[in-house]
Symmetry: C2
Subunit: 177 residues, 2 copies
Amino acid sequence: MDASQTISQMVLETLRKINRAIGLRSRQLVKTVGLTVPQMLILKEVVESGESAIGHVAAHVSLSQATVTSIVDRLEAHGLIVRRRGSADRRKVLLAATERGAEIVARNPAILQEQFTEAFSKLEPWEQTQILSSLQRIATMMNAEQIAVPPILHEESWSEHESELAATQRPEASPVS
Amino acid sequence: MDASQTISQMVLETLRKINRAIGLRSRQLVKTVGLTVPQMLILKEVVESGESAIGHVAAHVSLSQATVTSIVDRLEAHGLIVRRRGSADRRKVLLAATERGAEIVARNPAILQEQFTEAFSKLEPWEQTQILSSLQRIATMMNAEQIAVPPILHEESWSEHESELAATQRPEASPVS
DNA sequence: CGCGAATATTTCGTATACGAAATTACCTAC
DNA sequence: GTAGGTAATTTCGTATACGAAATATTCGCG
């Protein structure tokens, strides 16, 4: 947290740190519950909204279809949900939770927050609201910008390096003896 | 944004959305500048702090050493930084930016924000401060919890599925003729 | 009917991310 | 001086995440 940074930079830096904390938390979850946060999110969504298509779930949890597909692969491998081709529209793949899956969600309604919720609930109500409002403000700003994609740099000089070093072989820093 | 959610849940949901927006933004960056956000972050750190060890950089950008290693691989492949074994302590791998790398950072001091900074700077100063403070509040709460790892569930019934379905083969939803 | 546009999902390639184990180097006590 | 512990980095395995392209299906229009 260098004093020479702009507030904007500090905001982004803090967001990255929060994000990392969430990621680490997710990995701890694997050890206790056996599922990561994204997996829980999707399982929960499926349980609560009944049989629903992949695209529907993806939109609800704010992830791409491709991402949901791979997470569903794991949930299905664990026997927590099942895929079923839609009968009305056979392009769709409907997801349904198995008993096992439903049980896990039912047994852990707050599993996704737990400790965070605990700490958060100790704040004053007006403070909670303010924090949420600040976050939504940021989310809105970011989404708005997501649309516009002004090509910033480029000029020249870039991309010639691409081909020669494309292979993911790391040149040893220095072959010591 | 369901009305039936607790504020805490909404906070987490909003954080995930913000995070996604940052991720998407990062991918756009690849097209304009040729580097992702994490790559820029590390390159910038190396340029600004001179020759520094991997561990040092990792701590500064809040990422694990393993992650930094792989990102450095790519930056090195692109000829933006070089690895050098430390002479004093040969366990350390020192990073230094090449001319090319330094030039990119120099030419794009604000590349990491750009549009976000633009929008953010239009807010009232007191509002900016408030947002930052809200975020730091959250970050602090999350880091504090990172320490304690109370085993929540487990009971039994878990993990027997692991072995039989470990392979990443997806059982076709239903082999429709 | 039948073909092309539209829609839904999966596959493929790439880039983060992390923990745990392996590797290499250093350092201290004996 | 060497054995054992510590420290720094890399390797390995796994899980997200996404875009772009491929695939499968539906639907509209002639």
